[in-house]
Every structure is written in structure tokens, then in C-alpha cells.
């Protein structure tokens, strides 16, 4: 029994209590139905070993975890022109903040990991139609997860579309400054779709694996993303991946990661492994409260920090 296997025996037990201190997201009605006690984790090493514990096979929607995918896809489609419309700086403000879009001299979103920035990167994804663009994102997710059966959770999509007024506000604000082009409702449909992609811990562990492996699938050996785009994604995950708790996560855990209000966190340990955790009870900043603790335990026991 190797080291990771030993850790995994107790990892859920060690961290399940933290779920009690968090709350499921309620501003998207469909997410409010999640079970706050769920907690799961999946770890895949670059040499192909897999470890799992807890509710690792429960499905959840990617939400902001998808922001990494649309950042990479828009970089594939537009190269560095992406950064003419969205910055790469962390911000001390919340994930749905609009303040800086108005008060800063340059009215572009600070980075692609906050809602405004992700709406901007989504708007740059190429395709003939809304459904074409959505399918490209979905195909990209399937490839990275090595799972062709990944799909969109229709109910969550509709729930987000119906209640996503804050995102609408962000999008129209950017439209007024020409940060985004094209039909705003179309862009939001794509954005809500990507947020509603349904995955398991294993899926996002596999995605993290591709990032950790600088773009090459450990299953097929195929290059799925360029090394450069992988590096950009991992760097921005490191500085901005956990909203306005990114700095604290870096100090305590030190792994490139991206969280979502669905409860998932995708982590990519460079040259070592991909990890997916799921725990829908969130802390005040919108991150999986017990999920962070699981990653903390893994980082400390396996010495995973990149710093």
C-alpha cells in the first residue's frame, strides 16, 4: 500500500466535519438542491495510478471550473489577443464584482477566473452558432476528461439562465465598453452552458492531469493543448483560481487549482498529478470548504506546494 493509498483511507473522515461550516450556493436555485454533506476526491498520477474516496462518483456542475477550459479554448482560437480584452491580474474583489470595470482606467476584467473575465473569454470562442460554440466547449471538456459521455445539465442551465441577472449586468457593462462583441444573450447562453457541464471528481482529476502533464493526455499520449497555453492556465489558476481567497490558498496549499460554486475544485500539480475534489458546502468566498481542507492535507503530506 503506497503513501497516497494510506492517506486516502482516512481523508474523507479527516475532513468531513468541515462540511458543516459551509453552505451550498443558493443564488442559483438548482444548486441549492445539492447535499451539503457530500464530499469526494479523485487523484490521478501522471504515471497512471488512480485513487478515490468518498462521493467521488457523484455528478456536479463545473461552474467556475469551466473558466479554465474557456480560457484555454479562447487562447487556442485567438492566441494572445485574448489579453487585449481581459487582464491577468488577481483582484481582491469577489467573483461577481463590477466595481473595477467602472473605476479603473482600463475597463477590462482583471482576469479570466472571475465572472466578467470568463464571460469575455467565452465571447471569443469561435463557432458558427451558439450550439456550435457550446459543442466545441463540450468536446474540449470530454477530451480533457477522457470521457465522451460528459454532458450539460439542462435544469441547471435553465436555472442559471433564468436567474443570472448579475452576470447579465456584467456582460452588458462590458458590451457598453466594447469588451465583448456580438449578441449578449447568446454569449450568456454559452456561458451558462459551460457552467452547467456535469462532471465527477474523476473527470476534473483527468483535466488537472492534462494540465499537470503540460498538455499531453496520459491515456493516449496525444497533445491536447500546447505547453505554453497550459503554463498560462496553471499560472492564472495559481494567482486567481480561488477568487479572492487565491492568495491564502497559495500560502496554505500552493497548487494551481480552480474552484466552482458547484462544489468542485480541479487541481493540477505540475509534473506530478491531477486532483478533483467535490464538496458543495462552500465558504464565504464561494469555495468548497471541505474540498480546500482535503487539498491542504494532500499538499502537506505529499509536499506538493510549487513554491
Amino acid at each position: 500500500m503506497d503513501n497516497i493509498e494510506i492517506i486516502f483511507k482516512n481523508i474523507i473522515n479527516n475532513n468531513i466535519e468541515f462540511t458543516k461550516h459551509g453552505k451550498v450556493a443558493t443564488y442559483i436555485p438548482e444548486l441549492a438542491k445539492n447535499n451539503p454533506n457530500d464530499l469526494g476526491v479523485y487523484l490521478i498520477t501522471l504515471d497512471g495510478k488512480e485513487y478515490c474516496a468518498g462521493d467521488y462518483n457523484k455528478k456536479f456542475t463545473m461552474q467556475s471550473v469551466s473558466k479554465v477550459l474557456t480560457l484555454m479554448l479562447s487562447l487556442i482560437d485567438n492566441s494572445n489577443k485574448v489579453f487585449e480584452k481581459v487582464g491577468m491580474e488577481p483582484t481582491g474583489d469577489g467573483f461577481n464584482s463590477i466595481v473595477n470595470l467602472e473605476i479603473k482606467d482600463i475597463h477590462k476584467p482583471f482576469n479570466p477566473m472571475i465572472n466578467a473575465g470568463a464571460i469575455a473569454t467565452t465571447s471569443m470562442i469561435k463557432g458558427k452558432s451558439v450550439s456550435d460554440k457550446v459543442n466545441r466547449i463540450l468536446d474540449f471538456a470530454r477530451k480533457l476528461a477522457n470521457n465522451p459521455s460528459i454532458n450539460i445539465n439542462e435544469k441547471t442551465f435553465l436555472s442559471e439562465k433564468e436567474t443570472g441577472h448579475r452576470n447579465r449586468s456584467l456582460a452588458y457593462f462590458m458590451k457598453s465598453y466594447d469588451i465583448i462583441e456580438g449578441n449578449v444573450e447568446d454569449i450568456l447562453d454559452i456561458y451558462f452552458c459551460q457552467c452547467s457541464i456535469e462532471v465527477t471528481c474523476k473527470d476534473i482529476a483527468n483535466m488537472g492531469c492534462v494540465l499537470a502533464n503540460d498538455g499531453i493526455s496520459i491515456h493516449t499520449g496525444e497533445r491536447l493543448i500546447s505547453e505554453q497555453i497550459c503554463k498560462i492556465a496553471k499560472t492564472i489558476m495559481s494567482t486567481c483560481g480561488l477568487y479572492d481567497a487565491s492568495g491564502e490558498f497559495a500560502v496554505h496549499i500552493g497548487i494551481p487549482a480552480k474552484s466552482g460554486v458547484g462544489g468542485g475544485i480541479m487541481a493540477a500539480v505540475p509534473h506530478k498529478m491531477g486532483i478533483g475534489v467535490y464538496g458543495p458546502a462552500l465558504d464565504e468566498k464561494g469555495n468548497s470548504i471541505a474540498g480546500i481542507q482535503i487539498l491542504k492535507e494532500l499538499s502537506q503530506k505529499l509536499d506538493l506546494t510549487i513554491y
Copy 2:
């Protein structure tokens, strides 16, 4: 020849040069077609004398001048419940600012004279349908102006609807905080309609007259608005009527007034007169640059300040 008559002989000449230092609004394409050299004024005393000069019979759209009307109509419809959704404090920020909606603890617009606040008051106007509500505003405008032929400028309406993304952003932001209820696009249609009401200097001078006369038409003797609502409107015009130049306007001119980016300013001198000015060349804050100067000359020569 009375005092006002003498002043009016030179009032355009005295102030026309200021038009050169301003610019017509361009963010609404239809407004960009206005002639920056236009300048007109109309003054009606409560005892029925009328004075005019310059381009007093040119038509222009009310834009923000209409905010006074929808404030009063929503007060008629909802009494002081209006102020549960919109404040009465001046703000140092621009007319289309969104920052305070996010950073203040109470996420309601500061006052009904900025865009967010006016969208909120518009959302509270009663009626069975969009067109019903628009017609109520239009009827109210006609009554106050004593002019049944007042109408909406369709081209301006369509231009605003097409390009009004900043207002959309404000509206959806408020929707996300339940400041406004109902369909946002419907509310914006009403809002864009009221902005596009086409008037002359005489029309808004007549409106100012009703306010100056505490709600009673000088033409028919009919009470059109309660005294209390008139006072509220005049007070909020005094503290917030010229966007973030309201304080300076109060110091230099001291008359309850409301400006619009169409170039109009409606002024109500309590117990004395109503004044309408039109000059589409705007200063940096969105107020008629020469229009303010005309009101300054009138205030100083006729000692009109209320302070």
C-alpha cells in the same frame, strides 16, 4: 418693456459663445445629429407672462428631464414606498455609475435623478402593459406641458434601445438585488420611451411652471400634482438635478432644475416662474453648457436663488 424682456433681448448673444466649448452627446447615435450651435430659452411667470429667445421652438428629446416626471408619477402611484427602492441622497458619481450599487451596504440607487434611480422609479409606474405605462407617462407630460401634441421620437427611442447597454447593465444589477421587479427589457422600453419624449423649451417651461406653482396649472387652475409631491420633486432637483454638478449649480444659480443629455434644462423657481432652456452642446458632466450660463444670467439679474 419690463426687466425680463430687456434681459431676453441679449440673452442668446451673451451666451452663444459657450456652445463652442461643449459637445453634443454621441453615445446615443441619434443625439449625435443635434446641432451644437442651437440655443433657446422660454420663460413663463406664474402670472402668465411669456418670454422667449433663440431656438425656443426647436424640438429635442427630454432624456433625463423626464426623470422628474417619472419620479412624480411613481410617487402618485406608490406614495413613499418609492423610497424603499431608491434613496434621496446626492452622489458625487456620474449619472450612469454602477459602483455604489455594489459597494454600499444598501444596494439601492442613491436618488431618482441618476439613471439607476430613474429606472427604479420607472419600474414602479402602474399600468396593464408596457404601452399603457408609456401612455400614462406621455399623458402626464402633455398635461404638465399644457400641450396635447407631445409625442415620442421613435428614432431616438430605437437608437437608445439599441445602444443602451450601460442602462441594461444597471437594470440587471438592480434586478439581481430585487430593487426592480418585472421584466427588465419591458422596464427599459418604458425608460427609453420616456427619455425620447420630444418637447420644446416652451413645453418644459410649462412643466417647470406647474412645479413652481406647487402643482396647480396656471392655464386651467387645475391641481395636477399634490403640493407635497411637488416639494419632493423640487428638493431632489435642487440637490441632484444636474448630476455630479448639482452642488456647483446650486451655488452659482440656486434654482431647482433638471438637465438632460438631449440639451434641455427644466427649471422651476418656487412661486415665481418656470424656465426651459435648450442647448445640446454639453459640458463634461452631461449638462447643457450654454444652457447653464443662460440660467446663471437669469438667476443673477433677477435674483432667483432660493438660498
Copy 3:
């Protein structure tokens, strides 16, 4: 028995209960010793009639009420150059806010009725030394109050000097942008002195009287301030006098007034009267909670609104 006399019989009783809903200022330790149940009012008409009720003869420190005096004195000393360093716009922010000094393009305080603005006007008062400048302010206060025995409360001055770190922060921020010149601690000493001038309701009623009378003492017939400076002061009191509750005060009461966290409010009803109220129990925005109610009753019953 005239109308005002009748009102004054019950005015304390009618409003004393409001004192229970407020709190004395605690951030200046010396002010924390005030009795939250105190409530007094003094009214002087321009034809010399005087009315009083409650704790009208209790002494309290002027605090922000003094901002009106230093505005006028710095206008006397510097004419309109004052407005190169401080604006005349109301702001939706609190009296000690620093945000706008940083984020606005023009780094000057919004108006002379907030702390930053008053520190700026104080810095422009002329004199050979700190004590010379303090004496000039004190003499000005004595003249306006028609009371040569007015003095500074030393304990309050020392208490403010010791704990006034927020004001220090504002002052050094402005120093870094050259809004204020000279030694910052000296300027703050003068500022803390003016805040600590000790007065009664009668004193500030007399001050309000001079303002209401456009600058001429009703006691001596002497012109103490120019009409123009009086108008400026009354206008800025109207738009900015009650911090970020100025708009609401205008709607409900409609009288040029200035409050202070010592519990005083000085009101000037143009061409009619001066009023001084004192009630150290403050509302959340730092204004005398029962004092505002007394002014409301007076405004409504005597129809004092200027709008």
C-alpha cells in the same frame, strides 16, 4: 401667545423620545461623556424675537458646525481660490471617507462640509501662527454668536488631538497631493481647536441668524459677512450640511443647516430666522437624531422649506 410660542411649549416633549434611538459619539472619548437624554432648542427671528426650550443653555462643542465658519473665513481670506482646493459637490460617502480622494481624477475633497474638505479650508485661513489663526476663528465665532465669552473646550481639543488619526490620515493624504500646504500637525491643531469651540443653542441660533439675514447682525446692524459668501455658505449647507443624509434632510425639512457630532445643528431660514438645536444622541450618520425631529416639526408647522 404667538404661533412659535405655542409650538415651543411641547416641542421637547414631542421629540424627546427620539433621543432613545440614538447614541452619543464615542470615537472622541471626551464626547462619550455627553448625556444622550439632553435636548434643547433656541430660535431667533430676524425681527429679534427669541424662543427657547429644554437644555438650551447647556454647553457643547461645535464639531462640524464649525465647518461653516471656516468655509466663510477662508472665503473671506482667499475669495474663490478656496474652490481650487475643495469642491462644492455633495457626496454619498460618510463624513470621514477617504475613497474619493484616491479614485477620482481630481484628488480634492468633494465639499467643505466633510472632514477632508474642512481640513482643506482650515489650511487656507490666514495668520502669523497657529494661535493667531485659532484666535481669528474664535473671534469670528464670537462675533457671529454675539457672545464674546465663547471659548475652546481644552479637554475636548486634547481628546481630539490624541485620537484624531482618521483626520490625520485625511490630512496627510491631501498633503501628498498638495491639496494642503504647510505643516500638517499645525493645521490639525487649528482644526481640532475649531471643532472644540464650546457653544450653546443660543450661540448657534445667533450664527444662523446672521446667515439668514444675508450677513448683517440683527443686534448691531453691522455687516459681518458679505451677502455672496452667506449665499455660498447657505447653499452648501443645503446640499451637504448633514453629511450623507443631506438629501433626506432637504426633502423632509428643507432648511440650510449644519450638524456636528457634538449634537448641535445650526439652521438658517433665509430672511426669517436662525435656529440652534442640541441633542447629543446621534443617528447612524452622525446627526442629532432628536434635533432633526425638532427641526422637522418646526419646518412643517411654520412652513419653512425653501423649496
Copy 4:
């Protein structure tokens, strides 16, 4: 001739042109005297090889580079209690911004790499007197640099003390919220002293070396800092070390580093090397414009990114 030696032959020539696009800091008069054309670099590998080029032996003041030292020293003195007074989140605002201290619910500085945060960590350094505390910082700097002759540049210290009003403003603001305790001017004296520590590229390369080596001197084998504190420092350097350009630096260079407006950048490549660069021509955000380019060249050619 090894790889680094080859790179160093042309590294100044390759990057010297960038100095023309920057400007020396002028807000501290003494810094304005720096030569904008200066450019130097020093690199020390953990196995003791040293490389240098350009103006590597010119002296400059540490300025914000010292923030890393005071963070570590205050962690040594106070352990994690440091983070009760200062956060660990990057902020999109400039190094001397005060806005977030006011508008965020928790009025503590975002991180120890911005001025407010560094003043806070400095305030927690232990010692009997100002000079005692300064000497502890100086000793710490000497040990880390393996250079006992390091000293304070008195002229720069006096220049900063005389003109540092923005820092005074930050400090008094924090004092008003009890973020910092003790005498503010004393704390600022210590802060200005640490900023004025005079070093060369070699000195900060040595400091970076200690960090890269997880706290152990490569010269003496002595543990100078705990591994944990080293990790915290390197992490916060990664997310916050280049002010509001930290995110971009991470994407393009990917090395824990800290810049100062004196023109220095200290970089620590974990387990590999320390690098010191000096180039006083700064970009708009206050970072050495050519210094960043040198680090970029090194990172790309030697594949140094940690992500």
C-alpha cells in the same frame, strides 16, 4: 563555458534598450537622482556558482524589496499572528492605495507586499527602541546577504521621511482601526529605514538564494529562516511581489520575486538559484522595466517557471 555564462554575455545588451521606456521614481526626491540607464544582474546558483553582468556592483536602496525581509522577521517574532493584521491576498490596486482599507468590511491591508501591509508587518517587529528594531532588520539583511557591511543610506531615509505623506496617511488610517499599535512616526521611521537599506545586485541575489534554498545559507550551511516562513515568503512574492503587475509577471516569468521602486528586483528560483537585478528606470506600475526583461530572458532560456 556553461549555459548561464553564455546567456550573461549578451544579457545587458539584449535588454538595455528597455531602460529608455521607463522613468526613475521621482516622488522620493533622492531616488530621482538615479541614472535611468543603469542595468545590472547577479545570479547565484545553490551550488555556489556566481554570474554577473552590467552595473551589478552599483548600490541602490532596497525600497519595497525590504518588505520580504520585514514580513519574515515579523513572522519570526509573532508567528501567524501577523495575519490577524495583514492578509495574504493579491489586490488589483496600486502599491500605495488606501481605498480597500476603507471599503472592505475587514479594514486590514490585503497583503504584506503593498505599502500598507508592510507598514503593518514592520509595526510588529520586536525591539526595545526604534534603533533596536532598525538594527534587527539591518542585521537580518546582512545575514541574508552574507555581507556585514550593508547599511542605511541616510540621505534617502531623510528624503523619504520628509516626503512620505502618503505612507503617513496609510499608517494613520490603520492606526484609527487599531491595525497598527504604538507611535506612528516611530513605525514610519523604521519603515523608511528599511526602505533605505543600500544593497547591490549581489546582495539581493544572495537573499534570493536563501529563499530558494528554503532558509539555509549556501555559504555557511546555517539555517537563517525556517522552511515554513521561507515558503510563505516565496508564495506571497509569487502572488503579490510586483504590485498590480504580479499576475502578468507570473504568466511571463513565473518566479517568486519582489521589486522595489529603487530599481531592484530580488528573485528566488526554488531549489535552483537567487537572482538580483537592478535597473532604476521603472514602468508605470513601479517595477524595473528592463529588470523584468532580464528575468524574462533568464526564465525562458533556463526554463525557470514554477508553474
